[in-house]
């Protein structure tokens, strides 16, 4: 750490290096490093068998399965939805296009508790949408389907916003070349455009997945939180905490953290890969 502050240009010209870096380090240490360390310390107070007993109960296993499964489903649904929305926003002119474009971001701006509240209300038997769906046997409130649905809402902007800029920069000449070589529109789309959008679609998928893994506020409203059926891992953590099972809660939290960190690592390597390959 001695040769910190190697200059940006010749000589460390601008002032404020110590102050800004010092402040940043103190802030990150207090707010990030110490709390994370507390997490690890708490878990390390468990023996290996206690740890396994905590994270691998039947209840916990079904919670992981639901959390990862519902997140995967929501992310998978968002890939075609996001591609379609990005496509019409970039390629077509139609009334209210700009409003539609702005509305895509609403799930990021809307507090998750509000999303949960309104989704729980829309899909119950006498809700606006539930009145049509429930008679068909579709229970989109207080069910696993409800969890996937609300996670789809929460993650909607990710795929759209990763695909949109890539779609905009695709050269018209590529499509022209494909067309002049006799490709149909469908062939051009599936053989030329889709491969070019691949990295963006994968990144969007992974971002939606990672976000969904940790989601709590919206799911807690719509899921009903029934043990073994609709209890996701974050809800299980809160339940353990409320019963003062701190070590168990932390152990489950660690599993969840490992899941999201792994996803983020995949995203980062994807980004590096696509930058190197000039997509």
């Amino acid at each position: 750490m001695k040769d910190l502050g190697q200059p940006l240009v010749a000589g460390r010209i601008l002032p404020g290096f110590r102050l800004s870096l010092g402040y940043m380090l103190v802030y990150l240490t207090l707010l990030l490093a110490v709390p994370l360390a507390a997490c690890l310390a708490k878990v390390s107070s468990l023996t290996a068998s206690q740890f396994i007993a905590a994270v691998w109960t039947e209840r916990a296993r079904s919670a992981y399965l639901l959390t990862f499964g519902a997140s995967f489903a929501a992310a998978a649904i968002n890939v075609p939805l996001g591609l379609l929305l990005a496509w019409i926003l970039v390629r077509y002119e139609f009334p209210f296009r700009r409003i539609l474009d702005s509305l895509i971001d609403l799930p990021f701006a809307l507090p998750t508790a509000v999303a949960g509240l309104v989704y729980a209300n829309l899909y119950v038997k006498n809700g606006w949408l539930g009145q049509f769906l429930v008679p068909l046997g579709i229970q989109a409130a207080y069910s696993r389907l409800a969890i996937v649905l609300v996670l789809t809402f929460i993650g909607l902007p990710f795929v759209v916003r990763t695909v949109q800029p890539v779609l905009e920069t695709i050269d018209a000449e590529i499509e022209e070349a494909a067309a002049s070589l006799g490709a149909t529109r469908l062939q051009t789309f599936s053989r030329v455009l889709l491969p070019a959008l691949g990295p963006a679609l994968t990144t969007g998928f992974a971002l939606t997945f990672a976000r969904s893994l940790g989601e709590y506020g919206s799911v807690v409203f719509v899921s009903g939180n029934i043990m073994f059926k609709t209890e996701i891992a974050p809800v299980l953590i809160v339940n353990q905490l409320e019963e003062y099972h701190y070590a168990e809660a932390t152990a489950i939290a660690l599993v969840l953290l490992a899941g999201s960190f792994a996803t983020l690592a995949v995203i980062n390597s994807l980004e590096r890969w696509s930058r190197r390959h000039g997509c």
């Binding site: 701006a109 509000v114 606006w128």
Partner: protein
């Protein structure tokens, strides 16, 4: 971006090979409108409909006559600005350190800034309970000295600040990186001191990015649920913020009351979107080339970036 795209669309006539036939175009557009309609528009309309379903008078009474709801609104208005202010100071310091100097460990620090986005809000809250809760590492010491962090205001601020930590820094870093140190170095060579450089050169250059970061940070701070839920203890009239109040009223089967509070939060979200559109137009006009707000790829919890 819309303006740019529009300009491109009119300047360069739609070429035949790129244009899909109407038979494809119209169903796709309709499908897109249905998706956004069902997932986004209907829920937003439903919030206001439910909130106002018993008339405006009831709506108003739900917000104003309920002491606990009043307190929740007040608490949110205390917690959010403090968290935003803390993260503005951090964001500026971090952006300055990371973009104006090169040092070992720099990339690691930039990665660390994004970390809170990868941590479930519930886990964030849990970490502070482990530190400051009664059974936590500092719990006994805090109790002996009469300091309450968990189930009290400091805990709410800590949890909210943690969750919103990346917002301002992430907007400032790419902008300051793109601007480069030339103007500041020039000011220095003309004899300006550090604070003069900062206030007269840096701040005018980054003001819109800063405002953008503040708006996003504030929206998330006011709406945060999971992290705050864990540390608050849900004491009505004491540690319930607006999103927590929404849930409590919902649990008490007070739907109109719950939706009344939710409608305020929804209005905040809509205002945030409006401000975002306005700011993006403004910066697009001001900075025709070079720096733009935000990074290319949206991250977790980011309000979508449009280049």
């Amino acid at each position: 971006m819309d303006a740019d795209r529009h300009a491109v669309a009119t300047a360069e006539p739609q070429r035949r090979f790129r244009q899909d036939p109407l038979l494809i175009r119209i169903p796709l557009i309709l499908a897109g409108i249905v998706i956004v309609g069902v997932l986004i528009v209907i829920p937003v309309v439903n919030v206001f409909y439910q909130a106002l379903s018993h008339g405006f008078g009831t709506y108003w009474r739900n917000l104003v006559d309920d002491a606990d709801t009043r307190h929740a609104i007040l608490l949110t208005l205390i917690v959010a600005p403090i968290s935003v202010a803390l993260n503005v100071a951090f964001g500026i310091a971090a952006a300055w350190a990371v973009t104006r100097f090169r040092f070992s460990g720099r990339t690691l620090l930039v990665t660390m800034i994004d970390l809170p986005f990868a941590i479930s809000p519930v886990v964030a809250g849990l970490m502070f309970v482990l530190l400051f809760g009664l059974q936590g590492y500092f719990g006994p010491w805090l109790r002996d000295h009469g300091v309450r962090i968990i189930f009290a205001l400091p805990g709410l601020i800590l949890a909210t600040t943690f969750v919103t930590l990346p917002f301002v820094a992430r907007e400032l870093i790419p902008v300051m990186e793109a601007l480069g140190p030339e103007e500041e170095t020039a000011a220095l060579s003309l004899g300006a001191n550090g604070w003069q450089i900062f206030w007269r050169v840096t701040v005018p250059n980054i003001k819109w990015a800063l405002l953008y970061g503040v708006i996003l940070c504030n929206a998330r701070a006011m709406g945060e649920f999971g992290a705050v839920y864990v540390v608050s203890g849900h004491i009505a009239g004491q540690t319930d913020t607006m999103p927590l109040r929404v849930q409590k009223l919902f649990d008490e089967y007070n739907n109109p009351g719950s939706f009344a509070v939710a409608s305020m939060l929804t209005s905040l979200a809509l205002l945030t979107l409006l401000a975002k559109v306005w700011l993006e137009r403004k910066t697009r006009r001001e900075i025709a080339a070079g720096a733009r707000i935000g990074s290319a790829v949206p991250r977790i919890d980011d309000i979508g970036e449009t280049p």
